[in-house]
C-alpha cells in the first residue's frame, strides 16, 4: 500500500475566514495531493429560512464585510423576481449599477493593493513582517496612498448609493429606496478624473509585473481550465447583469447566452467529505472535467470586449499575451482585476453624468412568484442566490453559490501545483513555500469566509503528513 505524508498550512493569512492546507506526501516525499480545506460552517442558507423575503438582501450581505454589496444586489435581484419586477426603472437599475461598480472597484483595489501588492513588490522570500500594507506604505508611500484613496473613493460611491459604506440597505425588492442627490454626486465627480488616472496606472503596474515576470507568472499555479461568467447579450463584459457563458481551455463555447434563472440545468455542486465548501461543475462535462474558474481572469477570457474605451484597450493587450486564447495563469488574475477597476471607474464617471440618477421613480412590482434567482458578477466571480418564498412571504429554501465556491477546485489545483513545485523531495515546510501557497490562494480570493458563510479572519494552517498519515510538520500564521 502506498504511503503518504501530509503537510498542513493553517492558518492562511491576509485572507478573510479560516483555511487549512494539507499536503499529503508519498514515500519519496513527493506531493501526492494537496487540499485547501475550508473548515468553518456558518449556515446562512439555514437560518435565513422563515425570514421575510424583503429582509433577505439586508441579512445575507452580512456574509461578508468586503463584498456585502454583491450579496445585497444578488439577493435583491432574486427578490425582484419574487415580486415580479422584471424590469426596474432606469433610476433603480443605474443606482444599483453605480453601487456595484463602486463595490468592484473598492474590493479589487483592496485585493490588489492592500492584500496582494506586498507579495508582488517585495517578492515571496521577503520577511513576512514586512509583506503587508504597512510595509508597502513604508517602501512605496505614493503607491500605497493611491491604493488607499482609490478604495476610499469606491466606498464613497457605495455610501452615496447604499446609505452606508458597509452594509447599506438601499436595494429593495423591485428597485432602490433612494436616488443620487446632486449634493452626493458632486464630490464624486470632483475626484473621478483623478481615479481614472490612477486606475490606468494600476493597470500598468499589474501589466508590467505580469510581463516583467513572465517566466514566473506562466509557471506559478498555471493550469488549463474552463471559465465562466455573465456576459452581456452582445458578449461585452457586464458585471451587474447578463447571460451565462462558459468556455473551455481552448476558448470554445461550452454554453452561451444562458438565462441565469436556468443555471440549475447547467451546473451542479459536488460535496466532498473533507471540506464545507462544495465543488460546482458544468453538468454536461461531469465533475472531473466540468470544473471551471470564475472572477476577473475568467471574465477577461469570456468577454468578447469591454464597452468602455480605456478598459477595452487594456483588455485587448491582456488577450494578446495569449494570442486570444484563454489566459490560464493564476497570477494574471491581478492584471485582470485592475482592468476591471479601470472599467468600473469609466462606468462610474459615465453614470455620474447621467440625469436618470436623480429620477424619482424608484420601485416597480409585478406578478408574485415563488422562486427567485439572482446572479451577479461579484469581485471574485459569479455569485448565485437562489430562493423560494411561500405564500406568507417567508423564505422556504435558500442556496448560495458564491464566487469562492465556484473557484474551489481551481484553488485546490493552484495549491497542489505550488506544493508540488516547492515541496517535493522534502518533508519540511519552508517559509517561501508557505508564502507561495498563500499567494496562490490570494490570487483567487482573500475571502474564504463567505464561501462557507463563516465569520472572521482567515489564518492559514499548513500541515504535512507522511506516507503513514503521521503529522510531520505544521506551520501556522495568524491572519
Amino acid at each position: 500500500m502506498a504511503k503518504t505524508r501530509v503537510i498542513e498550512i493553517d492558518p492562511l493569512t491576509r485572507v478573510e475566514g479560516h483555511g487549512k492546507v494539507t499536503i499529503h506526501l508519498d514515500e519519496d516525499n513527493n506531493v501526492d495531493e494537496a487540499r485547501l480545506h475550508i473548515v468553518e460552517f456558518r449556515g446562512f442558507e439555514r437560518f435565513i429560512l422563515g425570514r421575510l423575503y424583503w429582509e433577505v438582501p439586508v441579512i445575507v450581505q452580512r456574509l461578508c464585510g468586503i463584498c456585502p454589496v454583491s450579496h445585497h444586489l444578488a439577493a435583491s435581484k432574486a427578490m425582484d423576481m419574487i415580486i415580479g419586477a422584471d424590469k426596474l426603472t432606469p433610476t433603480a437599475e443605474k443606482m444599483r449599477r453605480l453601487m456595484h461598480y463602486g463595490q468592484i472597484m473598492q474590493s479589487n483595489v483592496l485585493h490588489f493593493f492592500h492584500l496582494s501588492s506586498p507579495d508582488l513588490l517585495f517578492g515571496l522570500g521577503d520577511d513576512v513582517s514586512r509583506r503587508n500594507i504597512f510595509g508597502v506604505i513604508q517602501e512605496n508611500p505614493d503607491l500605497a496612498m493611491k491604493g488607499i484613496r482609490m478604495r476610499k473613493f469606491g466606498q464613497q460611491v457605495i455610501e452615496a448609493t447604499a446609505g452606508k459604506r458597509i452594509h447599506g440597505t438601499s436595494a429593495v425588492p423591485g428597485g432602490i429606496n433612494k436616488n443620487l442627490s446632486i449634493a452626493e454626486r458632486d464630490p464624486l465627480l470632483g475626484d473621478v478624473d483623478q481615479m481614472l488616472a490612477w486606475a490606468q496606472e494600476a493597470v500598468e503596474i499589474a501589466q508590467d509585473y505580469t510581463l516583467g515576470h513572465l517566466p514566473h507568472v506562466t509557471r506559478f499555479a498555471t493550469f488549463n481550465s474552463n471559465h465562466m461568467s455573465l456576459v452581456r447579450g452582445d458578449g461585452a463584459l457586464d458585471l451587474y447583469h447578463g447571460w451565462l457563458r462558459a468556455i473551455d481551455a481552448g476558448g470554445n463555447i461550452i454554453f452561451d447566452q444562458v438565462d441565469y434563472r436556468d443555471f440549475n440545468d447547467y451546473l451542479m455542486e459536488e460535496v466532498r467529505s473533507w471540506s464545507y465548501m462544495k465543488f460546482p461543475f458544468i453538468k454536461r462535462r461531469g465533475n472531473l472535467d466540468g470544473w471551471y474558474r470564475v472572477g476577473p481572469l475568467s471574465r477577461m477570457n469570456t468577454a468578447g470586449f469591454i464597452d468602455t474605451p480605456l478598459a477595452d484597450d487594456a483588455h485587448q493587450a491582456f488577450r494578446q499575451l495569449t494570442n486570444g486564447l484563454p489566459n490560464q495563469m493564476s497570477l494574471a488574475y491581478h492584471w485582470a482585476r485592475m482592468i476591471e477597476v479601470l472599467h468600473c471607474v469609466e462606468k462610474i464617471k459615465s453614470l455620474l453624468h447621467d440625469p436618470d440618477l436623480q429620477g424619482e421613480e424608484l420601485m416597480v412590482r409585478g406578478e408574485r412568484r415563488e422562486e427567485g434567482i439572482g446572479v451577479i458578477e461579484a469581485p471574485r466571480g459569479t455569485l448565485f442566490h437562489h430562493y423560494r418564498v411561500d405564500e406568507n412571504d417567508q423564505v422556504t429554501f435558500c442556496n448560495l453559490i458564491v464566487s469562492t465556491t465556484n473557484n474551489n477546485e481551481a484553488m485546490n489545483r493552484a495549491v497542489s501545483r505550488v506544493a508540488r513545485e516547492q515541496l517535493s523531495g522534502q518533508a519540511r515546510i519552508t517559509e517561501p513555500m508557505l508564502n507561495q501557497i498563500e499567494v496562490a490562494v490570494r490570487a483567487y480570493d482573500p475571502c474564504l469566509s463567505c464561501a462557507t458563510h463563516a465569520l472572521g479572519q482567515m489564518p492559514l494552517l499548513v500541515e504535512v503528513y507522511d506516507a503513514e498519515g503521521t503529522l510531520v510538520d505544521r506551520k501556522s500564521r495568524e491572519g
Binding site: 422563515g50 425570514r51 421575510l52 424583503w54 429582509e55 438582501p57 439586508v58 441579512i59 452580512r62 415580486i83 447604499a162 446609505g163 452606508k164 452594509h167 447599506g168 440597505t169 438601499s170 429593495v172 425588492p173 429606496n177 433612494k178 406568507n392 412571504d393 417567508q394
Partner: protein, 237 residues
C-alpha cells in the same frame, strides 16, 4: 381656567394641573423624560419603567404618577440613568434585537433609547434568545414577537382606538408574550388600516407592515433625523 401648581424637575420649575402625570406636565413644559411603553394618544400603563424618576426620594413611573405640588422630582441623575440603562439592557437581552438586519432600525425606539443612554455594547446579562414562530399568516401584517418588549402599545391601540381587541398578553412571568385573538393574525379581524398597526405604535420591529421594509433610506429614518427625545445628545456611559 383650571388651577395649577408647580413642582421641581431636576431643579427646574414645572407647572401642572391636578390629575396630570409627571410626564404629561414635563411634556407640556418641553422637558423630555425617556419612555418606551408610553406614547401619545394611549392611556399610560407604566410597564416598561424606563420613565422611572424619583419623587421626593421615592422611585415612581413618571407616566402614571400624578404630579404633586411642591414635590422634588429627579430624572437625569446618574442613579436614575443607571436604572434606565439596566432596564433597556434587559429588554435587549430578553428578545432577539438584531439591529443590523431589522427593518425597524433607525425608527426603533428601543434602539434610539439605547443610543440616548449610551449603551453601545453587550452587557452582563445573558441573552434569552427566544425562538417563537413568526406569524406571517396575514396578507399585510407580520407579527415577530421575538422582538416584542411587552410595551402593550398595540394592545391598547387595538382595544381603545380600534375597538377590536386583536392583541392581548398571554402567559405569565418570563413566559408572558403578546398573543392574538385567534389562531393567528389571519384568523383575526385586524386590518392594515388599524391604528394598532401604524408604524408609530409598535416601538420595535415586532409588528411589521408587509413588503415595506427598508423603504426609507439610511439618513432619512426617524432617528437619523433627530434623536429620540429631541436634540439632546446621548449620555456617555
Amino acid at each position: 381656567m383650571a388651577e395649577t401648581f408647580t413642582f421641581s424637575l431636576d431643579g427646574g420649575k414645572i407647572s401642572a394641573h391636578p390629575g396630570q402625570s409627571i410626564m404629561e406636565a414635563a411634556d407640556a413644559a418641553g422637558v423630555y423624560i425617556p419612555r418606551l411603553c408610553d406614547t401619545e394618544g394611549l392611556k399610560p400603563q407604566g410597564s416598561c419603567r424606563v420613565c422611572v424618576v424619583k419623587m421626593n426620594g421615592r422611585t415612581v413611573a413618571a407616566c402614571t404618577q400624578p404630579a404633586k405640588a411642591d414635590s422634588v422630582v429627579e430624572s437625569e441623575t446618574p442613579e436614575i440613568l443607571g436604572y434606565r440603562r439596566d432596564l433597556v439592557r434587559m429588554l435587549f437581552h430578553e428578545g432577539n434585537h438584531l439591529c443590523p438586519i431589522c427593518e425597524a432600525s433607525g425608527r426603533c425606539e428601543l434602539q434610539a433609547m439605547a443610543y440616548r443612554l449610551g449603551i453601545t455594547q453587550s452587557t452582563k446579562y445573558p441573552y434569552l434568545q427566544p425562538v417563537r414562530p413568526v406569524d406571517a399568516s396575514h396578507p399585510d401584517i407580520v407579527l415577530d414577537t421575538n422582538r416584542c418588549i411587552l410595551c402593550g402599545r398595540c394592545i391598547r391601540a387595538s382595544r381603545d382606538i380600534d375597538g377590536k381587541n386583536v392583541f392581548e398578553y398571554v402567559g405569565r412571568g418570563i413566559h408572558k408574550k403578546v398573543g392574538v385573538n385567534g389562531d393567528n393574525l389571519a384568523d383575526t379581524n385586524v386590518s392594515i388600516d388599524d391604528r394598532a398597526i401604524h408604524l408609530d405604535i409598535c416601538p420595535v420591529g415586532c409588528i411589521i407592515q408587509k413588503g415595506r421594509g427598508f423603504f426609507t433610506p439610511i439618513g432619512k429614518r426617524q432617528f437619523d433625523l433627530a434623536p429620540i427625545g429631541g436634540e439632546e445628545k446621548g449620555h456617555e456611559e
